[in-house]
Each structure stands twice: as structure tokens, then as C-alpha cells.
Amino acid sequence: MIIARSALSMRSIVLAGAIALLAGCATPTTYEGMVPTAFDIAKRHARSVSLAVSGGRETDAMDKPQITDAAFTQALAEAIAKSQTFSRVVQGAGGDYLLTVAMTGMEQPSFGFSFTVKMEAGWTLRRASTGAVVWQQAIFSEHTATTSDAFAAVTRLRLATEGAARNNIAQGLTRISRLDL
């Protein structure tokens, strides 16, 4: 009787430990989740663009999902290609324009069923030949993920974070498409 009880207790503790470990392991955001699926593009610019993204960071195992510069750059490049906001994206320097995006703010909740993530990024478009600023704006975006999107909290938070970045990219490209370049 006592042995059976101890075994049950051990099983419960192992199970609890496993849940604790799984719940605490944040998964990094993916670039695929940050590419907008629809675009509101006014003009397609017949020029090329280089990209420079800053402000991102790696995801620690016990931290909340973060966005790396590389993942955001890849998502932005794919979004530009899909939307044709610019004729092409040039790797490194060499584009007609330089688009810099600095991720400066990210608000992520810790508890709840619905997770709303808010993001701010500073977008600047420069003419590469002169360095002149053509357009500059802080863009705020947010996205809410619910339990119908994902039951596991860490996944829900990742989806909300990717959604906020996705909306930020969509807004940024919409505004750029309205410029006269």
C-alpha cells in the first residue's frame, strides 16, 4: 500500500516537473510567421532596396519568444518580394534605397488566455546615393492570439509576437508604397 502510494507520488512529481520544464521553454519566432499574407500596396517602386534591421535578440530558453534581426530581415525581404513594393532586395549594400528598421519596443504579457503583443519599430528610408532621409516613421502594431490559435501558452505567445511583427511589416510597406520615390 505504502509502496504503491510512493510510486504514484513519484509519477505525479515527474509529471509535474515535465510540465514545468515544457511550460518554461520558449520557442523563438519564425520568419515564416512574420510574412504578411495580404498587402495593401498603392504603388510598386521600380527601384531596388537594401535592408538593415536592428534591435532584435535571441530567445533564451526561460525567456519569452523574441525576434532576431536575421528573422525579421528575412520576413521583410520576403514581404517586399511578394508585394513588389520594390523591384528587388539587394543583399548588403548596393540598393538604390536603404531601408532601416529598428525594433525599439515589445510589450508581451505573462499571463492570460488571450495574449496581446504590442510592438514599435522605427522605419527609415534613405536614398543610398546621398544618404538623404526620404521617409521616417515610428510604426506601432499589435496582435492577439487566443486559445483557439494554440492551447500551450508558449506557442500562443510566439504566435502573438509573430503576428505583431507581421502587422508591423504590412503597415510599413503600405506606407512606403504611398511615397513618390
Binding site: L15, A16, G24, A52, D60, T100, G105, E107, T124, R126
Partner: protein, 150 residues
């Protein structure tokens, strides 16, 4: 049986809550192209939800660093300054309330564009006072400004 399971679930919950007790993070970045080195006057805009007067701590710290700084409500037309400072403070309870995270953003007063941002995150076991958090965040921003020369 249920009692044992309940104890295990409580232990699990405790693990979840306490697993983050020693996380420390302090970062700062300056937006490429922003020029903060020339700034001399600052206006600290109070976060509407802040009832603890963090804007005054930031203002005092800037003054201590030799800058001219004022603090007041967030408004669409802030008083003339080279930089408008905004912030987000997050608090947590563990025996007492403590500041878990502070993010300070230096903005261009003409278009609110973020010129630099600093963030500090200290969980319970390594908690800092609000004054220390402000000092750490601003110190990291100004160090980054020195590094970049902007």
C-alpha cells in the same frame, strides 16, 4: 492520492513561478542615424498609467548627469526640448512590490521617432530599486551613445 497530486501540482506551479527568479537583462541600442550626443535638453513625458512618479526619477537622473530636464504629462505638443523621453515600467509582487522591468525610449520631439532605447529586467532575487533601475537604463543608453559617437 488526490492530496499527493495536489502537492505535486503546487510544486509544479511553484517551479513555474520561481524558475525566473534570477533573470537579469540590461540592453540599450541607438537607432542608426540618430544623433543624441548633441542633445542637451530633455522632456520626460509621464506614462498615463504611472502613479509612482517614475518620470521624476528619470528627470532627476538626467539632471544629475548634467542635462537640463523637465518632466510632465504626455502631450502631443511637449515643451521645447532636444529629446522627449517616454518609458514603460512593469511591476511584480514577491513579498513586496518591485520594479521588474523598465524600458526608456528617447524620441525625436518633432515626429516621436525612437532614437534610442534602453531596457533593464531584474527578477525578484536580483531586484533593484526604481532609482537604480533608472540609473542602469540611462547609463546603458548613454554608454551606447558614446560607443557609436552619436
Amino acid at each position: 492520492m488526490w492530496r499527493t497530486s495536489a502537492v505535486a501540482v503546487l510544486a509544479c506551479g511553484s517551479l513555474l513561478v520561481n524558475s525566473g527568479c534570477a533573470i537579469n537583462r540590461a540592453t540599450a541600442s541607438v537607432t542608426p542615424g540618430a544623433d543624441i550626443a548633441a542633445a542637451r535638453t530633455f522632456y520626460v513625458a509621464q506614462t498615463p498609467e504611472d502613479e509612482r512618479g517614475i518620470e521624476k526619477l528619470i528627470r532627476d537622473n538626467l539632471v544629475k548627469r548634467g542635462y537640463k530636464a523637465n518632466a510632465g504629462p504626455a502631450t502631443a505638443n511637449p515643451p521645447a526640448a532636444d529629446v522627449v523621453v517616454t518609458y514603460v515600467d512593469r511591476w511584480m509582487w514577491d513579498i513586496t512590490m518591485y520594479m521588474l522591468e523598465l524600458t526608456v525610449t528617447f524620441r525625436n520631439p518633432t515626429n516621436s521617432f525612437p532614437m534610442a532605447v534602453g531596457n533593464s529586467y531584474h527578477t525578484s532575487l536580483s531586484r533593484l530599486s526604481p532609482e537604480q533601475m533608472v540609473d542602469e537604463v540611462l547609463g546603458n543608453i548613454f554608454n551606447k551613445v558614446k560607443e557609436t559617437g552619436k
